[in-house]
């Protein structure tokens, strides 16, 4: 009996020991030797310019710049169910940025999610997409970053729930979810489509927001890709056959939207999509066209692509059902949004076209009211004042319910007021 117990304990110790060793072997990544900060003048100007374009297509600066910080100096909080990860400083400052990183260290970080010192990086940094970026493109981005002004800045510490502060665990996540996904040219499609797919699926990492995520925050692939997801308290609607838009996303309309932050048939880019269009407006037009071609193709079987529905105005019905909402709308919204208002004359999308009203949840409609719309691309763009300080949760919910009933399509929204409170909290 005693011998049996001893044996069992010995076996357990051996098994645990072997597991620890195996895991350590899997998780271990060596540091890559530090290099002297490369001379910014040593890089080819053409290479830097190509890198600048790729960095804009990748929207790198959105996560690598704090609200009041300098570009690429890090500090933007990415909130996850497991804690907050702050974008790192990727300026060439040797002490606090990536000035000491060799091209090999940079490539490894982008492809494998491993820092120069060998530590695993959190997948908030979307290396699951960058794994398929070509060497040539990675070297161009490296050249671009190394020629930015070096900024001395340390982002706030991540606040991960235990034990996720222990980074070697990320090796396990990677075993499950980090898959090289070669982007082979599809000969049946045009060169533009193929270019769009390469950019969209790798650097632009569109699925990071537009796909649902699983329990471990991995993006759901396969049939659920582009089925809609969440970002910074906003809903990123489906951009596949389930697109809720009531006007077709043609390549032309999508190109205009991505380059100007505004589609007069859909909506203005708001929330986290605003900065995306800001960067795309400054990227190579041919690449943005390619993205538009590819994603219009993704949405080719969406309802509006087949038939654009008539949009009835159920004004009196909605007023009867939501009198408070109707009154609030009258005083707070109608001056811009009613037909004939100045904003309509200026070519802004009419309220019934607004994609948020046709989504399966009220979040984006709520967020637009709470936070408003800032001109996404340039000072002359679409603007809407924020009502978060002017209206309380109940009042916002009343307006949202009224709008959904008056102009919306799809099933009615439930528990709107609760979602207003949640939107305020997540947007903090």
């Amino acid at each position: 009996m005693r011998t049996g117990l001893k044996r069992a304990i010995t076996a357990l110790v051996v098994v645990v020991g072997v597991c620890v060793v195996v895991f350590a072997v899997i998780a271990y990544r060596p540091a890559i030797a530090e290099v002297a900060r490369p001379d910014p003048h040593a890089f080819d100007a053409g290479l830097v310019q190509r890198g600048a374009n790729l960095a804009r297509l990748g929207n790198c600066v959105s996560c690598h710049q704090a609200a009041a910080g300098r570009p690429y100096a890090g500090g933007y909080p990415v909130k996850t169910p497991f804690g907050t990860v702050f974008g790192s400083n990727i300026t060439p400052d040797a002490a606090t940025g990536i000035g000491g990183w060799s091209p090999a260290a940079f490539r490894r970080a982008m492809r494998e999610g491993v820092g120069r010192d060998g530590s695993h990086l959190y997948p908030a940094f979307p290396y699951t997409h960058y794994v398929s970026v070509t060497d040539r493109d990675l070297d161009a981005i490296y050249a671009f970053l190394m020629t930015r002004p070096a900024v001395r800045a340390v982002p706030p510490s991540n606040t991960m729930i235990p034990p996720l502060g222990f980074r070697p665990l990320l090796a396990g996540w990677k075993l499950l979810f980090l898959r090289p996904k070669p982007i082979a040219t599809d000969p049946r499609q045009s060169a533009e489509w193929n270019r769009g797919r390469y950019i969209g699926e790798t650097l632009a990492h569109c699925t990071a927001c537009h796909s649902p995520r699983g329990l471990l925050q991995q993006e759901k692939r396969g049939a659920q890709t582009y089925d809609g997801g969440w970002s910074g308290g906003w809903y990123a609607p489906p951009i596949n056959a389930r697109s809720p838009a009531v006007r077709a996303w043609t390549a032309d309309r999508l190109e205009t939207y991505l380059r100007t932050g505004l589609s007069r048939d859909h909506a203005a880019a708001a929330g986290p999509m605003g900065p995306v269009t800001y960067n795309l407006a400054r990227a190579a037009p041919a690449d943005v066209r390619a993205l538009a071609t590819y994603y219009a193709w993704q949405m080719r079987d969406a309802p509006a692509a087949r038939r654009e529905p008539a949009l009835p105005d159920r004004r009196s019905f909605a007023t009867q059902r939501h009198l408070d909402g109707a009154r609030l709308y009258e005083g707070a919204c109608a001056v811009c949004h009613e037909p004939g208002a100045g904003m309509m004359v200026a070519g802004r999308p009419a309220l019934p076209l607004g994609t948020p009203l046709h989504e399966d949840n009220p979040r984006d409609t709520i967020q637009v009211i709470l936070k408003g719309v800032r001109p996404p691309v340039s000072a002359r763009g679409p603007f809407m004042p924020a009502y978060g300080d002017a209206l309380d949760d109940r009042q916002v919910a009343e307006i949202v319910a009224y709008l959904k009933m008056r102009h919306g399509t799809g099933p009615a929204w439930k528990a709107i007021k609760k979602d207003v409170a949640a939107a305020r909290k997540e947007g903090e």
Binding site: A67, A68, G69, R70, A73, D93, A94, A95, P149, A150, V151, R152, A153, R327, L328, E330, G331, A332, V335, C336, G342, M343, F383, M384, P385, Y387, D389, A390, L391, D392, Q395
Partner: protein, 163 residues
């Protein structure tokens, strides 16, 4: 009939609840500080505080105010006894035509009630929704910095150094 708390006093007004708060302040209560600029929430001349938060009173239906308290520039001091923000604006000569100033002061008051030590960026972000067509922005920002200091705080430069 509804009760409205403005600058610490309760006023009873007889208006349609959809009427913008601005019209009630100006036409019914005779408070001409807040101005009508664009009527679209784009210029900030109508800014007042509702429970410490700056809002565009041209786009706030009076019926939505409820029990919350409204503060206009008149509530922050008088011509004979100006408040600290008003003194700061005077000291910096921040007004040219002055049309935007009551909104600017209300907006600055909202910021300083939240924190007397905002960063430069936070101050600029807080003041950005109000526009000044004369171009006295630099003086306005100086006045806000001065008022922050008068309240025992100050505006902090937040940008990281370039190495």
């Amino acid at each position: 009939m509804m009760d409205l708390t403005v600058n610490g006093a309760v006023a009873r007004v007889d208006v349609d609840p959809a009427t913008p708060l601005l019209y009630v302040l100006r036409d019914d209560l005779g408070l001409h500080g807040a101005k009508f600029g664009c009527g679209l929430g784009q210029c900030g001349a109508c800014t007042v505080l509702v429970d410490d938060r700056p809002v565009f009173s041209c786009l706030l239906p009076v019926g939505a105010v409820g029990a919350r308290s409204v503060t206009t520039v008149e509530g922050l001091g008088t011509a004979t006894a100006p408040g600290d923000l008003q003194r700061a604006f005077l000291h910096e000569q921040a007004a040219q035509c002055g049309y935007c100033i009551p909104g600017m002061i209300a907006r600055a008051e909202g910021l300083l009630r939240k924190t007397t030590t905002p960063t430069e960026d936070e101050m600029r972000a807080a003041m950005a929704p109000s526009l000044c067509r004369c171009g006295t922005h630099m003086r306005i920002l100086r006045a806000v910095r001065r008022a922050a200091a008068m309240r025992g705080g100050g505006v902090i430069d937040s940008a990281e150094p370039v190495t």
